[in-house]
């Protein structure tokens, strides 16, 4: 504050107190966001395009308008709170008509979950893990995403390099040779325990 004690003069500015909103100082220091991020558009309102799920790979995007969210009361102990507050979150959607899940993954899911689907073909995910409705909803979405992702992963055939294929073939042949060698040795041992006959 020592610098400020040596100031020489001040210029007066008249401010109309009623229109304080209209007069914004528009102060820009040397560490404004414009200077920190010169190549940025500085816009927090942009909504990016939803990532597409293509080539059988699930992008992780779940369209909120394609699933039905409902809340119910949770189970377990909790007194008045658990009796009155709807904290259990449930999401349901028709699996066969879910366009946002890639086709091969959808088929695999239908087969995997065929005992869990409702009569009309709806798949339901529920959660009452926490005391908060919103956190439970996040949990259901997490469960759903995890399920779809693991199914998509199981469909992916991993690429094996020719060196690995060759190595696996060699190891298999070596194992077979060992087995036959031990078998022959065991056979000789057993034969050696027989009493010798006139023919041999």
């Amino acid at each position: 504050m020592a610098v400020l004690n040596n100031f020489s003069s001040f210029r007066r500015i008249l401010i109309n107190s009623s229109s304080s909103r209209a007069y914004l100082s528009g102060f820009k220091s040397s560490i404004t966001l414009e200077k920190l991020y010169p190549s940025s558009r500085l816009d927090i309102t942009t909504i990016p395009k939803a990532p597409e799920s293509k080539d059988g790979k699930f992008s992780g995007y779940i369209p909120m308008d394609k699933i039905q969210i409902s809340y119910a009361r949770s189970s377990g102990p909790g007194g008045q709170n658990v009796n009155c507050v709807s904290t259990k979150a449930e999401i349901r959607f028709h699996l066969a008509s879910a366009e946002w899940i890639p086709e091969p993954v959808r088929v695999k899911l239908a087969e995997k979950l065929k005992n869990q689907l409702s009569k009309e073909g709806y798949f339901i995910v529920k959660s009452d893990r926490t005391r908060s409705q919103h956190l439970n909803l996040a949990d259901t979405l997490d469960k759903l995403r995890d399920l779809i992702q693991s199914t998509a992963q199981s469909l992916v055939i991993p690429e094996i390099s020719p060196e690995t294929v060759e190595r696996q073939r060699r190891l298999r042949e070596r194992a077979a040779r060992e087995r036959l060698r031990e078998k022959r040795a065991h056979s000789m041992t057993k034969q050696g325990r027989q009493s010798p006959t006139l023919d041999s």
Partner: protein, 270 residues
């Protein structure tokens, strides 16, 4: 002027046949020869102060920052009862002006944190600036079409902000806000925390990701009639909305003064 006789004990002076002589040191020995053993010495065995290990319970406690909590429930109540005006941007100044919360910067309090109590029933649409907020709180604010920012204020700025009227009356020029310390820079430059020093484009991406995580449609702020209010932000060196560092506010004459000297202008601008 004398206190009452029982107020204090008279010192006992070492003088005369019964009081004086040996300076209270007794006869011979290490005591009279003033050759005492050091404090804690136990005549050779391993002393207590070396035997027992110390537990650093309070190590660095004077360096730890505190953020007194404000729950979403309290915030909703304030909005509903009119203690706070959601049609203007809410920051530490607005929260202190409600006179419901008091900040003690001298007790290592660096601002307020927004906690998640009342998360499910929060319905307010606000442009709020706090010093710390967890992910679910950020989701709750953004779900209702609001904007949340986390910003750092140094103790000098906080002393000005917690009672602006008193500060303006003092006639001190508005200080410039300091940048966060090293251990806080990472927090305030992270778009996930909606830091005031984070890239707004990355913040927009994180808003989208959070909406996907917590299961709500991200409200399109561009079509909002209150867009200008929601996007209003302070410069990283600014303390009050609409007031620059270096200005002196005269409440009585309703005038604001700004410095003319080049060096001062340079100081406040950097």
């Amino acid at each position: 002027m004398k206190s009452n006789p029982k107020a204090y004990k008279q010192p006992k002076r070492g003088r005369g046949i019964y009081g004086g002589g040996k300076h209270g040191a007794g006869n011979k020995g290490s005591g009279q020869r003033q050759n005492f053993m050091r404090l804690g010495y136990e005549t050779g065995n391993n002393p207590f102060y070396l035997r027992v290990p110390k537990e650093p319970y309070y190590k660095g406690h004077h360096l730890k920052r505190e953020y007194p909590p404000i729950s979403l429930l309290q915030l909703q109540t304030m909005i509903d009862t009119g203690r706070v005006d959601p049609s203007k941007p809410l920051d530490l100044v607005a929260l202190c002006n409600s006179k419901l919360f008091l900040l003690s910067p001298l007790e290592k309090q660096f601002g307020f944190q927004l906690t998640d109590e009342g998360l499910d029933n929060f319905k307010g649409k606000v442009n709020i600036e706090v010093q710390h907020a967890s992910e679910q709180v950020i989701a709750a604010i953004e779900r209702n079409g609001g904007v949340i920012t986390t910003a750092f204020y140094d103790p000098v700025s906080l002393l000005a902000m917690r009672d602006p009227m008193k500060f303006f009356i003092s006639g001190i020029p508005i200080p410039k806000r300091q940048t966060p310390p090293e251990d806080a820079i990472e927090y305030y430059t992270d778009p996930r925390n909606r830091g005031y020093l984070a890239d707004p484009d990355l913040v927009a991406l994180e808003r989208f990701k959070l909406a996907q995580k917590y299961g709500y449609e991200l409200p399109d702020l561009k079509n909002d009639p209150e867009l200008a209010m929601l996007l209003e932000r302070k410069d990283p060196r600014q303390i009050f909305y609409g007031l620059n560092p270096g200005w002196v506010v005269n409440l009585k004459d309703k005038k604001i003064f700004e410095p003319e000297d080049e060096k001062l202008l340079e100081y406040y601008k950097t």
